[in-house]
């Protein structure tokens, strides 16, 4: 059975090839970011640069640069947003999974309707304007991202699996709802809470929709949106280097752009093993519907 065959050799090659296709483009961006600017302008982008240089990273990480400012915004928004979102979702999930609450299915329907039918971006935008969620940090935290019915149902389905007898025996021992939530459900449900924390966290980190719709001030640009602006706006680049106090030097535009892209995926690479484990689990539960 296990002996070498042409068939399996082809299969290993095909999968390796696809894996390479997935990884090499990112590697190219990384290589450009550490290439000397002159080498880029001379030879174009390359996997094997002539001269290496970390100058782009030095510029980016100089205090007060737009990248650092945006990094701060993104981290703040992601941490605060994820904490709030997980709390709101977990609390609601706990109620929907409580079989003593008579109207839980009606409430589930209430959430489900908004999942199936959305009014679209124009009402969403007008509502945020009316609430004053424009051009402030709350506009990056509250609209769209703070609560998703999809995650709510993920939590509810998981909590439905907690045996009701646990709740009953706790009630007999004199525990109230809050005690049951914290002492029984919270420890049992950490896997699903970790999963939704990742869903929310990734959404917050990669979000630029809220910024493009609601944010005008540069000081509030999250990292992703800054990266989008960087594509087209050379002025943004100039500002970055001006802050770094080197306006007389030629701007390493190409390597700085690519370095910023690399810096943007930094936390994702860092958290990758954890991310992959829980994310896939959650997606499989969510899409195949267990």
């Amino acid at each position: 059975m296990r002996k070498f065959s042409l068939g399996s050799a082809i299969m290993y090659t095909l999968i390796s090839l696809y894996a390479a296709i997935c990884l090499l483009p990112m590697l190219l961006v990384l290589m450009i970011s550490i290439t000397d600017e002159d080498a880029i302008l001379r030879n174009g982008y390359s996997f094997f640069p002539d001269n290496f240089s970390l100058y782009a990273y030095k510029l980016i990480f100089t205090g007060g640069s737009q990248v650092m400012q945006s990094y701060g915004i993104s981290i703040f928004v992601t941490v605060v947003g994820t904490l709030l979102a997980v709390t709101v979702t977990a609390m609601a999930g706990y109620t929907l999974a409580n079989k003593h609450v008579k109207f839980r299915n009606w409430m589930a329907l209430y959430f489900f309707i908004t999942m199936i039918f959305s009014a679209g971006i124009v009402p969403w935008y007008l509502m945020n304007r009316m609430l004053g969620l424009t051009d402030n940090i709350l506009a990056l935290i509250i609209p769209s991202l703070l609560f998703s019915p999809f995650n709510l149902f993920l939590v509810r389905n998981f909590m439905n699996g907690v045996p009701d007898s646990l709740r009953e025996s706790a009630t007999i021992d004199g525990a109230n709802d809050i005690t049951i939530a914290f002492r029984i459900y919270l420890p049992l449900c950490t896997p699903v809470l970790a999963t939704i924390a990742l869903f929310y966290g990734l959404d917050y980190w990669n979000n630029w929709w809220n910024a493009i719709m609601l944010i005008d001030s540069k000081s509030l640009y999250p990292l992703q949106f800054m990266l989008l602006q960087l594509q087209s706006e050379i002025s943004m680049l100039n500002e970055m280097t001006m802050l770094a106090g080197s306006s007389d030097v030629t701007l390493p535009a190409e390597s700085v752009k690519m370095a910023t892209a690399i810096v943007t995926i930094g936390p994702i690479v860092f958290l990758y093993p954890y991310l992959q484990k829980y994310f896939v689990k959650g997606l499989v539960i969510g899409s195949v519907k267990g």
Binding site: I15, M26, L228
Partner: protein, 311 residues
């Protein structure tokens, strides 16, 4: 009437009995009310000439004028076609690639290799479309891109890819598959893992080789999941991926003829041209067709795969 009173009374007494539970769900309910239900009335601005200072109550009514403006312009056909066509390409190529990868991965026996290659394949799923646009630029840039370097090495002239609308459906499809197929493959692989092992044992006793098992056991048993997921995507075919298109194409007008979709059109009407009523009219057109499609595909799913239905 009697029934309704009893229902209201029931809710009241239930809240008294399970007060804490209702309190815990209150934030989520309020959020959904504000950002879900309270946004629905704004849809009527499709029939107004909406003015930000006059608001929804005092803006002038114009009937179907906004719809007329859209449908009379050549844009209506163009953006609708692009939305449907691009999504169709994404569904077909995405599903086929993911299926092929899942089946291949299932055949491989070296655990570490499978795990490692899965990790690599999932990576593109986690990065934003903006970062992907930088990847794209590294390949397709006019002066410095890898593709043009390769063309030059072969003695061919450089192509300015960012001014060639004809090639963009292919580029967008490739990027969409690149970003998403790994994740779909992992989901499909999870389905394969769930297949009853005894079926393979029986097939082996009957003398089936691996290829036949794949074709006659794995593939047929995966089909329900594949069809359900495909139907779900078809239900959403009127909704384009704004994040993808805007990040990769942006405001590059030369490419609009093949890349402009309903969602980017609505975005421009709202934020760049500044005509919320026109944007809402187009959005409403999208919603109505989209709603019919979601209902239709769900009805089909429910008819044939009871468990896979959305509701």
């Amino acid at each position: 009437m009697e029934k309704r009173r009893r229902l209201a009374f029931g809710l009241f007494s239930d809240i008294r009995r399970n007060g804490t539970s209702y309190l815990l769900i209150l934030p989520a309910m309020a959020y959904t009310f504000i950002f879900g239900y309270m946004t629905y009335p704004y849809m009527i601005i499709a029939f107004q000439r909406f003015n930000y200072t006059k608001g929804i109550f005092n803006s002038e009514w114009v009937g179907f004028q906004n719809f007329e403006f859209f449908f009379r312009s050549y844009k209506a056909v163009s953006v609708t076609f692009n939305t449907l066509f691009l999504n169709l390409l994404f569904i077909v190529f995405g599903t086929l690639t993911a299926l092929a990868i899942a089946l291949l991965l299932n055949e491989l026996r070296k655990k570490l290799f499978v795990k490692l290659s899965q990790s690599v394949m999932l990576f593109p799923h986690f990065i934003s479309w903006i970062v992907v646009s930088y990847v794209l630029y590294a390949f397709f840039s006019m002066d410095m891109g890898i593709i043009n370097q390769a063309l030059n090495a072969l003695g061919l002239a450089s192509v300015n890819w960012y001014t060639e609308p004809e090639v963009w459906p292919a580029i967008l499809t490739a990027m969409n598959v690149w970003k998403g197929a790994g994740m779909s493959a992992v989901i499909y692989l999870a389905t394969i893992t769930g297949i009853d092992e005894t079926l393979y044992e029986a097939a082996e006793i009957d003398g089936a080789n691996r290829w036949q098992m794949c074709l006659r056991v794995t593939l047929p048993l995966m089909m329900p999941t594949v069809i359900i997921l495909t139907l779900l995507s078809i239900g959403k075919i009127m909704y384009g991926d704004f994040g993808m298109i805007y990040a990769l194409v942006g405001d590059n007008g030369t490419l609009y003829s093949t890349t402009d979709i309903i969602d980017t059109y609505v975005f421009r009407s709202l934020r760049q041209i500044g005509d919320p009523s026109e944007a809402m009219a187009v959005g409403l057109f999208q919603s109505v067709i989209g709603f019919i499609l979601v209902f239709g595909t769900n009805a089909i799913t429910r008819r044939f795969f009871r468990d896979g239905a959305l509701y």
